[in-house]
């Protein structure tokens, strides 16, 4: 079952068309990762899926309904977005920022109700931020800050989570930390997760489904085993990759790689 369906979309800024005629389906209750070289349009696709960017033609369907015709607040109850580089206003505490995740569920002056508190505390708990809840966000480390933003998206209480490079700027342990959290959310709560990752091995290890893009077009999609092959990586990234099996998760991983010699 696909929960999100991208149907023949063309997306671009002002004059430049970045994606032309792309169709893809995102499976429900699975982790889907979009990979591809810099500038291939993966972030753009993610923005279109999350209705931040309007499509020039074609449409994105959420549960079978065109996303741009839905009330943005209704979409926000089903889908949360974690942008690539989010910055919190000065002086905000962890709890306050996470509480903003309740925005689509509130009305009027927006004092928090019991249900709101439950979601916020749950989000703080899952992300391991309970002890930091009254700290100012500026006082946190990069990894903790990233978790605060994820907690805010979680407090939104949505079936779908969309994340644009959630592990950027984090060290190895913290990267895994975030991805394991997402995996747990997917396995235990059945949340649909769509993200962009740069690290192919992480993508392979944590995804049920992978989408490879290049030059604004969809190159291939499928399970990590189907996508992570020498031939595919050659055509997508133009690299000569040595593929092995991950000793921990038994997924294909890229052991090492080199660039193809340009013969002239």
């Amino acid at each position: 079952m696909s929960i999100l369906k991208v149907d023949q979309v063309a997306i671009g800024y002002s004059n430049a068309l970045i994606i032309d005629d792309l169709s893809v389906s995102i499976p429900e209750k699975k982790i889907t990762t979009i990979i591809g070289p810099n500038g291939c349009g993966k972030s753009t696709l993610l923005k279109a899926i999350s209705r931040v960017l309007k499509t020039k033609s074609g449409a994105v369907y959420l549960d079978g309904r065109a996303i741009h015709q839905l009330q943005t607040k209704e979409v926000a109850k089903k889908m949360a977005i974690l942008p690539q580089s989010a910055e919190a206003p000065a002086g905000l505490t962890v709890f306050e920022l996470v509480s903003y995740g309740r925005f689509p569920h509130q009305s009027g002056f927006g004092s928090l109700k019991k249900e709101d508190y439950e979601y916020i505390y749950w989000a703080l708990d899952v992300t391991g931020l309970m002890e930091f809840k009254d700290r100012s966000i500026e006082a946190l480390s990069g990894g903790q800050r990233q978790r605060v933003w994820i907690a805010m998206a979680l407090a939104q209480g949505t079936e779908i989570l969309i994340l644009d490079e959630p592990t950027t700027y984090l060290d190895l342990a913290h990267q895994l930390d975030i991805l394991l959290l997402l995996q747990r959310l997917n396995e235990e709560e059945g949340r649909t997760i769509v993200m962009v990752l740069h690290d192919l091995n992480h993508a392979s290890r944590f995804s049920d489904y992978m989408i490879a893009m290049k030059d604004g077009a969809l190159m291939m999609e499928g399970t990590p085993e189907e996508v992570m092959t020498c031939l595919n990586l050659q055509s997508v990234f133009n690299i000569d990759a040595s593929i092995a099996t991950c000793p921990f998760s038994k997924n294909p991983i890229c052991l090492s790689y080199q660039l193809f010699q340009k013969n002239k």
């Binding site: 926000a76 989010a86 009254d134």
Partner: protein, 345 residues
């Protein structure tokens, strides 16, 4: 009740702290009000002021307080509130701490309208004087619309950065037109325009209070009701959209409210610019960046600032006056520099 038990101690503490800060700001306005009532060419003792306020004063005391000082004080507070909240909204929607009503060309537009009027109808008889606020408001509104239209791009809507840059450019253009126009003015008209541009509470009259009050009474609660939206807009367009805010619509509404507040204020006060910048900064230092507290604190801080500035301006060079806008700048600029130096680390 249940809600309270769910808040942590720190949250309760910060909430009550914020409420106390807001209470203190309110108290400061009342103190400044009492002092301002006592300030002027004709000395009245505090006791006489209180007696007159409760209806036991002489005819002359009543005239001084109710017809001269009180409307002026009310206007000073309202103008301060309007400009400061306008600045706070603009800083919120543009995510730029340096935004203030000046960047929307509101001061420049209002100033140009006043100047055009004075240079073509030089006789400042009674009737035109009452036309000035309306003209200034129209000037402010038209300029804001022009800037919005220039900054607007199809498909992408309005980007805060483009809005600010366009505002700066248009304001600079208008300023240069005004300099050309000043060459045509007679000395006494020039004097009037110069004072107006500097920002003085010149319209100390109940009619001006009435022309300003509806804007404040309608727009302040409207903006306060958008506190949550402003919080979310502060996180950036992507996050705000993800949270389900219709950013384009909300931004347009809030922008219109900011223009309305600043335009109405400027129309009776002239170009008091600095309050819109410093009011929100002062309030943010006191209560943090959540708009539920920030907006009321900003309103009170702005009202207090302009009232104090106007009182000082009336008192310091008696019997002549210094425009409140200049006093605000003289007090505000050093304080602002101090804030900036503290923010660095």
């Amino acid at each position: 009740m249940k809600k309270k038990t769910l808040m942590t101690k720190d949250q309760q503490r910060s909430k009550s702290r914020n409420l106390i800060v807001i209470g203190i700001l309110g108290l400061l306005i009342i103190i400044a009000f009492m002092i301002s009532m006592n300030t002027g060419y004709i000395k009245l003792s505090p006791l006489e002021v209180i007696r007159t306020l409760f209806g036991y004063g002489t005819e002359k005391q009543r005239l001084i307080l109710f017809e001269f000082r009180l409307p002026r004080i009310v206007i000073a507070v309202l103008v301060g509130m309007g400009l400061a909240v306008s600045g706070c909204v603009l800083q919120g929607i543009s995510r730029n701490a340096l935004a203030d009503p000046g960047i929307l060309g509101i001061n420049a537009g209002a100033g140009l309208a006043v100047m055009l009027f004075i240079s073509f109808f030089p006789s400042t008889t009674a009737a035109p004087v009452f036309l000035l606020p309306i003209l200034a408001f129209v000037g402010a509104g038209v300029t804001a619309v022009i800037i919005y239209a220039l900054a607007y791009k199809r498909n992408e809507g309005i980007s805060p950065m483009r809005l600010i840059l366009t505002g700066v450019a248009v304001a600079a253009g208008i300023s240069s037109i005004m300099i050309v126009l000043t060459l045509r003015l007679s000395p006494e008209n020039y004097q009037f325009v110069a004072t107006w541009l500097a920002g003085s509470i010149w319209g100390s009259n109940w009619k001006f209070v009435l022309s300003l009050l509806p804007w404040i009474v309608i727009l302040l609660p409207f903006v306060f009701s958008k506190a949550r939206v402003l919080n979310v807009l502060n996180l950036g367009d992507l996050t705000a959209t993800g949270l389900g805010a219709s950013i384009e619509k909300e931004r347009r509404l809030l922008l219109a409210a900011a223009v309305g507040l600043a335009g109405a204020s400027v129309s009776v006060s002239g170009g008091i610019g600095f309050v819109g910048l410093i009011g929100p900064h002062l309030a943010r230092q006191l209560v943090g960046s959540r708009h539920q507290f920030l907006l009321p604190a900003t309103a009170l801080a702005g009202g207090f600032l302009v009232l104090v500035a106007d009182t000082i301006g009336r008192w310091i060079l008696q019997p002549s006056e210094i425009p409140a806008g200049i006093v605000v700048a003289v007090i505000g600029a050093p304080y602002f520099l101090y804030l900036l130096s503290r923010l660095k680390d």
